[in-house]
Symmetry: D2
Subunit: 445 residues, 4 copies
C-alpha cells in the first residue's frame, strides 16, 4: 500500500482493527447459533455481545476498540493469530468466552472475514464505478455533438463526436460494473465447516446462520478454506477494470499532446508543471493512472497462482492476500476516483478539435467519395485509384491543398460524379446521423 494512492474508507477495511472486529462478529454469531442448537449455553453468546455492545457504546467513534498491540504480544508467544485473538477476547469477556470457537477452525474465521472485507471493498468499488459512470455520462451528453476527428492507428480517419468517445467509455465501464457485481458474488461466501470442511464438529446450521447475518452466501463445499478460484476471479476482474482505466487515461494523454491539445486535465492555478519549463501542463494524472493500472494488473497472476493449493489447503495463498487484498482494492479505488476527477474537470477544446478536423484538407471525407463513385458505377478498383491519386496530393501538401477542389478538378472523377454530388460528400453532419442511435443503446432512458 502506497499512502499517496490510498483513500481512507477503503484503507480502513484493511486495518487490523476492522479485521479483528469482523473476527469477533463471526465468532459471536457462530456462538449464537451454537447456543440456539444447544451446544453451548445461551449465556455464552449473550456475554460476547454484551461486552461488544458495551465497548462500542462507550467508544467515541461507535466502533469497538480492539487492542491490536496486546493481541500481537500474545501472538508473539503462541505464533498463532486466531488463538491470540481468542485469548485476548477471553480476557475481556470472562469465563463465558471459553465456549467461543467451539468446533471451528481458524480458517473458518479467517476466510469468512476475508470474504466480508472483499465484499465491502467491492461495494466501494461498485460505488466508485457508479460515480465514474455518472461523470462520463454527464460529459458525454455535454459533448454529444461536439465534432472531433476519429483516429485509427493514430492517423486521422473519419469524424466522430467527443460524446461518442465518452459513450464508448461509459459502455465499457458499465460492463465492468456488471463484472464486478458478479465477482463480488463470487467471493462473498461464508465457510464455517471445521478443520477439513466436513462439519465433523460443527453443525452446518451454524454456517448458515453466520452467512445470513453477514450477508454472505454459504460456501457449498469448503476444505478448511474457501476455494481460491473465487478470489482469482475477483482479482482478475479488477485487472480487467484496470485495463479500461488505462484505455481512457491513454486517450486523454493523447488528446493533451502538444500537437493535438483537444483536451487537458484541469490545471489548478497554483500548480507547477515542471521546475524547468513553466509553460508545461503535463497529463500527470492520467500518466499516473497508466502506472496504477499496471500494478492492479500485476496482482492478477499471483491470484491465479493461488488457486492450486495442496490437498485440503496449504497456507501459501495467505501472504499473497496480505499484499493484494489491500493493494489491489486500495489502488483501484484510488484510480477510479482519480479518473472520475479527471473526467469531471477535463478541459475540452472544441475549437481545437475543429481545427484538427480541418487540417487534413478534407481527406477524412475520401471514404464517402469512394462509395459515391462505386454507386455511380465505377468499379471498386477504379474508384479507389481515383480517390487515392487526389488524396495523395493533399497528403503530400501537408494540408495546403483541398481534396474537394482537387476532385472537382479531376475530369475522370467528374465524369462519374458531378461537382455538386462531390460537395455533398463533404458534409460533416452526414457522419453524425446515428449518434442518437448509439446514445440510445448506451444510455437507455
Amino acid at each position: 500500500m502506497v499512502p499517496r494512492y490510498a483513500r481512507a474508507p477503503m484503507t480502513a477495511i484493511w486495518s487490523p482493527e476492522t479485521r479483528l472486529r469482523i473476527w469477533f462478529e463471526i465468532e459471536a454469531h457462530a456462538t449464537d447459533a451454537l447456543a440456539e442448537l444447544g451446544v453451548v449455553p445461551k449465556d455464552a453468546a449473550a456475554a460476547l455481545w454484551r461486552w461488544y455492545d458495551g465497548v462500542k457504546a462507550a467508544s467515541p467513534d461507535g466502533e469497538a476498540p480492539i487492542d491490536v498491540a496486546a493481541i500481537d504480544a500474545i501472538e508473539a508467544v503462541t505464533k498463532h493469530d486466531v488463538i491470540a485473538f481468542l485469548t485476548w477476547v477471553a480476557e475481556q469477556v470472562g469465563p463465558e468466552a471459553r465456549f467461543m470457537h467451539q468446533g471451528m477452525t481458524s480458517s473458518d474465521v479467517l476466510d469468512t472475514a476475508l470474504a466480508v472485507q472483499l465484499a465491502r471493498a467491492a461495494d466501494i468499488l461498485i460505488a466508485d464505478l457508479d460515480t465514474l459512470l455518472a461523470a462520463i455520462k454527464s460529459r458525454a451528453q455535454e459533448h454529444r455533438y461536439t465534432p472531433t476527428i476519429g483516429r485509427s492507428h493514430g492517423i486521422h480517419a473519419e469524424p466522430v463526436t467527443f460524446g461518442l468517445k465518452l459513450a464508448q467509455a461509459y459502455a465499457e465501464f458499465a460492463r465492468n460494473r456488471e463484472r464486478l457485481v458478479a465477482a463480488r458474488a463470487d467471493i462473498a461466501t461464508c465457510a464455517i465447516s471445521g478443520a477439513v470442511g466436513t462439519f465433523a464438529n460443527i453443525d452446518p446450521r451454524v454456517e448458515e446462520h453466520v452467512a445470513e447475518k453477514l450477508g454472505l452466501s454459504v460456501e457449498p463445499v469448503s476444505t478448511q478454506v474457501i476455494p481460491r478460484d473465487r478470489h482469482a476471479m475477483f482479482f482478475a476482474t479488477l485487472g480487467v477494470i484496470a485495463g479500461s482505466i488505462e484505455r481512457l487515461a491513454t486517450e486523454i494523454r493523447h488528446l493533451q499532446r502538444t500537437e493535438v491539445l483537444e483536451a487537458e486535465e484541469y490545471f489548478s492555478p497554483g500548480q507547477k508543471g515542471s521546475s524547468a519549463m513553466p509553460h508545461k501542463r503535463n497529463p500527470v494524472l492520467t500518466e499516473n493512472l497508466t502506472g496504477l493500472a499496471r500494478m492492479v494488473r500485476g496482482y492478477v497472476t499471483p491470484a491465479l497462482e493461488n488457486v492450486a493449493l495442496w490437498h485440503e489447503r496449504d497456507i501459501s495463498h495467505s501472504s499473497v492476500e496480505r499484499y493484494i487484498g489491500p493493494d489491489a482494492t486500495i489502488t483501484l479505488d484510488f484510480a477510479l476516483a482519480r479518473l472520475t476527477g479527471v473526467v469531471e474537470k477535463l478541459v475540452v477544446y472544441p475549437a481545437r478539435m475543429q481545427k484538427n478536423l480541418d487540417r487534413m484538407g478534407g481527406l477524412v471525407h475520401s471514404q464517402r467519395v469512394l462509395l459515391a463513385l462505386t454507386q455511380a458505377g465505377v468499379s471498386r478498383e477504379d474508384s479507389y485509384r481515383l480517390v487515392q491519386r487526389n488524396a495523395m496530393k493533399v497528403w503530400e501538401s501537408d494540408g495546403e491543398l483541398s481534396l474537394l477542389e482537387l476532385l472537382k478538378a479531376d475530369p475522370e472523377v467528374t465524369a462519374a460524379l458531378p461537382a455538386e454530388e462531390i460537395e455533398a460528400r463533404f458534409d460533416l453532419d452526414y457522419h453524425f446521423k446515428h449518434v442518437d442511435t448509439i446514445f440510445a443503446r448506451v444510455f437507455p432512458s
Copy 2:
C-alpha cells in the same frame, strides 16, 4: 499452437478456411440486409449465396472450399487481407460481388469473425466442462464414503472422503462453467459500424441483421473495433479455469507420490515410464496439465495489455490475438479433455487410503478429544496442553504409539473424561455424518 496439445475440432475453428468462410457469411448476410434496405440490388446478395451454396453442395465435406493460397498471393501484393479476400470472392462470384462490403470497414469483418470463432471455441470449452463435470460427479458418487485422510499443509489433519475431494472439484468447475458462459456472452457481439463506428456509411440495421443471423448480440458502441475489455475478460476467465485444472492436477500428483500412493493415473500395459527405471509410474499427465495451466494463465497478461488501444483503435491487439486466440483455447480444450480422461480412468486405492489414515496412531482424532475435554469443563488452555502432550508422544514414535491408549493412560485426562468417552471420539463415521449434506449442496437432484 503445439500439435501434440491440440484436438481437431478446436484447431479447425482457427484454420484460415474457417475464418474466411465466416468472413464470407458476414459479407453475404450484410449484403442481404443492404439489399433489403434498397442500398444494393437484391441480385447482388443472391449471387453471393448462389455461389456459396453451390460450392458447398459440390464439396465432399459440405464446407465451401476456400483457396487460401490464392488469397495469400493477392495479399502479398495488396498487403491488406480483407481486400485480398474480397478480390478473390469477386473473381469467383462475378460482377455482382462489387456490392459486397458496401460502407463497411475491414474490422467489421475481422472483429465479428473473431467473435464467431471465440464463441464457437467457448461452446467447445463449455462442452468440455460438461464432460469433465460428468466424470468428476460419477467418481465422486463412487467414492462418496471412501475414507481418506484430509491434509492441510501436506500434514494429516482429519478424515474426509475421497468423494468429498471430488465434490469440491465439481463445485469449482461448475463455477468455472458459469464464468465461461458469462465470458462467452461478453465476446459474442457483432460490430458492423464502419470506419470509426459512426454508421456513417452503413445503416445500423445491417449490424442487427448480421448479429441475429450469426447468433451474436449487437455491440452497443464500437469504434471500428469491438472493445478489447471483452476479450480480456474472456482470456482472464480461461486463466482462472487453468488455475482450477492445476489444482486438481496437483492433487493427483500428490496422491500418486510413492509414499502416498492413494491414486494413480491409469497406466496402459504397453507404456514405459522411464528408460532407466522400469518400475516407475509417473503422473506425467497431471504434471503436463500443470505446465499447460501455466501457459493458459500466461496468455492473460497480453490480453489485459490489449485493452488500452489508442483512440478509436490501433492494431497492436491483432498480433497478440493471432497467438492467444488459438493457443489459449486449443490448449485449454486439450487440457480439459486430458483432465477428464485422467479423472475417468483414475485408479483409486481405498486400502492404501485406509492404511495412510491409520498410520498416525489416531492423531487425527485429537481435535475431537480436545473438544470433549472443553465441554467437560476443562479450560481451553488445559485441554490443549493435555492433548498436546500425548499427541507429541505419538508423533515422536512415528506411528508406533496410539493416541487412544496414551489418553486412556493419562490420569489428568481420564479425570475429566472417562475411557469410554475417549473411545467414542475415535469413531471415523463421526466425521462423515454431513457428507450427504455437502453432496446435496453440490449435486442438487
Copy 3:
C-alpha cells in the same frame, strides 16, 4: 508459433528433425567417450558416426534425414520419446547401436539438446541485435544534428536531435546485447549425469566430452534435469528486450501520428493502408511490434513458474518449453528483424520536425530565460513567476504570440535582463553543444 511472424532459420532450430539430429549427436559423442573409457566397444561409437556421416553425405541438403513419422509411430506405442528415437536409430545402425545411451537417462539427451537449441537461437538473436544496432547507428549518425523537439509527458520540452533519440535506442539495445550474451552463457550447459544426477552409471568424463564437443559448459550439479532458473533468466532477458522493442516502436508510432508526422514507416507504392480511407498510411509495423512485445513478455511468467520443480525433477516444465522455446525465440527474432527494417527504411521529415519545433512560439526556450534571470540575481520564485506569466500568454494564443517578443516587452523582465540577453537565450545550437559528447559515449570509435 504463428507462421506470419516466423523466419526460416530460427524456425528450423525448432523442427523435429533438428532436435532429433542434436539428440543423435549427443548420443554419438557420449558413445565416443564411453568407448574411450572402455565402457563400450570402440566399434559401437564408430558405427553410429559411420551411419550418420553416410546419410548426411548422401543427403541433398547435407543434413542427416530423420524419419520423424516413423519415430512418432514407435512413440505412439512406447509412449516415450527417447526410447522411440533410440529404437529407430538402432533399426538404422544395426546391433552396435545397443551400446548407445549406456548409463544415461532421457533427460540427459532432452535437456542438453534444449541447451543446444537455445544457444543456437541466442546466436541468431545476438546477430539480429547486431544488425539492428548497425541500422540504428547509421540512422543516428545521419540525423546527428537534425533538430527536433524533445517531449516529456507528450508535451514539448526542449530541443534534441533526432540522432540523440536514436543514440538512446542504440545504447539500450547494446545493453540488451550484453544481457543476451550473459543469458546465453546461462543456458548453454550440458548435463549427462544419469537418473538423478549422481553419475551412478556414467562417468562424469562423458559429460565433459559431450559438453566440449557441443560448445557447452558442464552443468556443475544436475538432478536429472538442468535447473530451470537458467531458462527463467533466459526468457526474462528476452522479455526485457521485448520491452525495448516496444519503446522504439512506440516512439515511431507517436512520430507518425497525423498531427506530429515527423517520421513514417516506409510505405511501398502498391500498399493499401485501409479499404475505406485511401489517404491513410498507418504505422502498422510498429503497432504489430507492440503486440509482439506483449507476447514475448507474456512468456516470462510461465518460465519463472517453471523453476520450482518437485524434488529432483517433475515434468511440468516440459509442455511450457514446447510452447515458449519456439514461440519466444521465433517471435523475438521476427520482431528484431522487422524493427531493423523499420529503422533502415524509416522516412524522416526534418522540415516537419522544424515546423513542430517552431509552433510553440518559443516556449521551449523558457527554461534558459528562467536560468538567465536567476543568474541575473532575480530570486528563483520571481524568475519563475515572470517567465510563467509570459509563457501562459503564448500558450493560450495557440502559437500565435511569440515568447521572445512578450519577454522583451515585459519591463520587469528587461529590468533584470536586457533585450539582447533575452534573444541570446533563443538560440537552438545552444542545446546541441554536447551532442558530440553523448555520441562519443554511445559510439566509442
Copy 4:
C-alpha cells in the same frame, strides 16, 4: 509493503527521510561541481554542506534530520515534490541555497536517487544471498553422505544424498548472486543531464562528479530519465531469485509431508501448529515463502511494462516504482532471511530417509540391473522386459516383496547374470562415488 514481511534495514532505504537525504547529497555534490566549474559561487556549495554536516553532527543517530511533514505541506501547494524539497532546504540553509539545482531537472535528482536506493537494496540482497549460501553450504557439508531417495515426478528414482540436494540449491543461489551483481551494475547509474538529456544547461562534468561521489557509473545517454530497461532487468532478476526460493521452499514442504517426513522446519516449544489439531507441525515458513515468491515474481510484469515510456519520458513508471521499488526488495530481503533461518535450523531425519529408501523393496536399484543385463549381452528390449516384470511384482506388493529376491529367483535373469552379480547391483555406495566430484564443482576450495 506488509510490515510482517519487512526488515528494518531494507525498509529504511525506502523511508522518505532516506530518499530526501539522498536528494540533498545529489544536489550538494552537483553544486560542488558547479562551483568548481565557476558556474556558482564556491560559498553556495560550502553553505549546503555546512548546514548538512552541522545538523548531522547534532543529531543523536548521526543522520541529518529531515522535516518530511514540512516538505509535504509545501508540496500540497506547489504540487511538485522536488520544488517543495528545494524550498524547504532554502529555508534551512539561507540565501546561498538559490544556486542549488542550477540547470538541473527534477528527474536528475529523482532518478539518480532511485539508483542509489536500488543499489543499496541490491547490496543488502547480495549480503542476504551470501548468508543463505553459507547456511546451505554448511548443511550440505553436514549431509554430504546422508543417503536419501532421489525422486522424479514425486516417485522414487535412485539414491542421492541430502547434501547433493543442498549442493544443487547452493549452485542455484550462487548463480543468482552473480545475476544480482550484474543487475546491480545495470541500475547503478547517475544521470544529471537536464530537461531532455542534452546537458543544455549543465556541464556533463557535473554528472561525472556526482556519479563518482555516489559510487555510480555515468548514464551514457539519458532523456530526462534513466532508461527503464535497466530497472526491468533488475526486477526480472529478483523474479528469478524468487523462483529459486520457491524451489527450495517446495522441496522442504514436500519433505515435511506426513508420509515423507524426512525433514522439518524447526518448531519452537511454545509454538502452536493449529487451534484444532495440536499434533500438527506445519511447514508454514516455506509455505509462506512460496506465497512471497509469487509476489516478487508478480512485480516483474509491471517493471517490463515500464520500459516503453513515451518520447523522452512520461511519468507512468513512477507510481509503479513507488510500489515495486520497496515491495520487491523488502519482500525478497525478508524471504531470503526467512529461508536462511529455515535452512540453518532445518531438522533433518536421516533415519527416516533410510526408511523411505528401503520401503520400495529395492526397486531403486532396477536401473543398475537393467544395465548389467545389457552389458551381459541381453538386448535392451529383453533386459527391460525382464526387469520390468519383476519390478511390477514388487510394486504391486506395496513393498512386501524384494526385487533382489525375485530377480535371483527368475531363471531368465540368472541365466544372464549370476546371483552374486545381481546382489552387487544393490549396493548403495555405488551411487555416491561421484558425490565428491560434484561437491568439488560446486564448492571449489
